[in-house]
């Protein structure tokens, strides 16, 4: 998260660093829609230091999804979120993945989430160095 960019600029940042992506009105509309879905639609013009840690995490998630990637890598994406936000973000992640026919690869300690994934690998079985 770049502290000198607003939430909106942070979300749209992938368009700045990827020449293949075109920053047009569709991108802006998608950024606003994602922010609204994450509950931070009214804070798009704020800078990260004026947002809570959870709000910053939601911006990071919006930034990951705004380019409609075919593969979404998620490492404890909901770790800093309250239960309501966590549910909302997870729903958003799954929605986006489905809409873009993308794969969602997530790392989590939250066992409640496991039933929602097509395939689960429990790394606990590798603790001794040999898979069970």
């Amino acid at each position: 998260m770049l502290d000198y960019l607003s939430a909106r600029q942070n979300i749209l940042y992938p368009y700045r660093i990827t020449p293949a992506l075109k920053l047009d009105s569709n991108a802006h509309a998608r950024a606003e829609a994602l922010a609204n879905a994450c509950g931070i639609g009214d804070k798009l013009d704020r800078h990260p230091n004026a947002l809570s840690q959870g709000e910053q995490q939601r911006i990071a998630i919006c930034r990951a999804l705004v380019t409609q990637p075919k593969l979404i890598l998620s490492d404890e994406a909901t770790g800093n979120l309250d239960p309501d936000s966590k549910a909302r973000i997870l729903e958003l992640l799954f929605e986006q993945a489905a809409a873009a026919s993308a794969s969602l690869l997530a790392v989590t300690h939250d066992h409640e989430l496991l039933p929602r994934f097509d395939r689960v690998i429990d790394f606990a079985q590798f603790r001794e160095g040999v898979p069970a």
Partner: protein, 324 residues
């Protein structure tokens, strides 16, 4: 494009920090540039003054001190040279000697006791008033007039040479009779007096106040004059005739003598006469002394430039920018 976008976003958000960084960077660039300009200007001024003074006679010792004292009226106090040296050069007929006496000051400006030849030699012009004609007269440089806010008709007082010199002479009040036009040289910051006036300040020459009789004091027609209440001496039309000098004028001191030879041959002959190391005096070429000083300054500057260049090109540790 992305770099510019980030740079402008950073500048806009962290404007205070960026301003400090820009100022520091500007300072880093400005200091060497300003030093370069300053040194070039100093070099030009130093060399032109040195080159314009063909020869300088003074006591043996530091040539630099002698040059700085006689040409730039610095604080250096080389051993005095006797006025008989001036007479010797006059008698030789090879050059015009111009004594300069720079031992005293007034209000932070050096008092330069000299002869009228100095004004012709330096081509000094008056912007106001007249030149030196009477004992005690002072002609001040343009910067002195500006700094002290004084002009023709005002007066200035010589500063005591040494506060702890209890038997020293009183300071001398000198009327300002002329102000020099600016020359952009050390002459602008000097107070010029006749060399005899400098000797009066030094205590070699002095005047006498008329004595007051006891009867005049008793009947109230005169007040008792006492040296105990006289804060400084003043040369007036009434007492100028009483001023006189004790001793042989050939022994009177000058800080240095500017020697203006008639031609190159005369200069060579004169230099040969002062080659003998046993003599108490030396004849130097101020231009060469100043050139040597400038060369040394530029050697140091070159060294500093090299050190600065190494430091700028090889910072002590690599900078790592981390964005999260």
């Amino acid at each position: 494009m992305n770099a510019l976008y980030l740079a402008f976003a950073y500048l806009r958000y962290h404007w205070g920090r960026s301003l400090v960084l820009v100022l520091v960077a500007a300072l880093i660039l400005f200091v060497p540039a300003a030093t370069q300009v300053l040194l070039s200007t100093s070099e030009r001024v130093l060399l032109s003054r040195g080159a314009a003074t063909p020869l300088l006679l003074g006591s043996r010792g530091s040539q630099l001190d002698l040059t700085m004292s006689a040409l730039y009226f610095s604080e250096e106090r080389p051993d005095p040279v006797a006025m008989r040296e001036v007479e010797d050069i006059w008698d030789g007929g090879l050059a015009v000697p111009i004594p300069v006496h720079t031992a005293f000051s007034s209000g932070g400006f050096r008092i330069v006791g000299t002869t009228l030849d100095y004004f012709d030699f330096r081509r000094l012009k008056l912007s106001e008033g007249r030149g030196l004609s009477l004992l005690g007269d002072a002609v001040i440089g343009a910067d002195v007039a500006k700094a002290m806010g004084r002009g023709v008709g005002d007066a200035l007082v010589s500063s005591p040479e040494n506060l702890f010199d209890l038997d020293g002479v009183y300071p001398l009040e000198m009327p300002i009779v002329g102000v020099l036009a600016p020359t952009n040289s050390p002459d602008d910051q000097a107070v010029f007096v006749d060399i005899k006036t400098a000797w009066v300040i030094q205590g070699i020459g002095h005047g006498h106040e008329d004595a007051v009789t006891a009867a005049e004091v008793a009947d109230g027609t005169a007040a008792l004059s006492s040296a105990a209440v006289l804060q400084y001496q003043r040369i007036t039309p009434d007492n100028i005739q009483s001023f006189h000098f004790h001793g042989n004028q050939d022994d009177f001191p000058a800080s240095a003598v500017i020697v203006v030879p008639n031609d190159t041959r005369a200069a060579t002959i004169l230099k040969g006469r002062y080659l003998e190391t046993g003599k108490p005096t030396q004849l130097i070429e101020p231009g060469a002394v100043v050139q040597s000083l400038v060369d040394r300054i530029f050697r140091i500057k070159t060294l500093l430039d090299v050190v600065t260049g190494i430091k700028l090109w090889r910072p002590s540790r690599p900078s790592v920018w981390w964005c999260s």
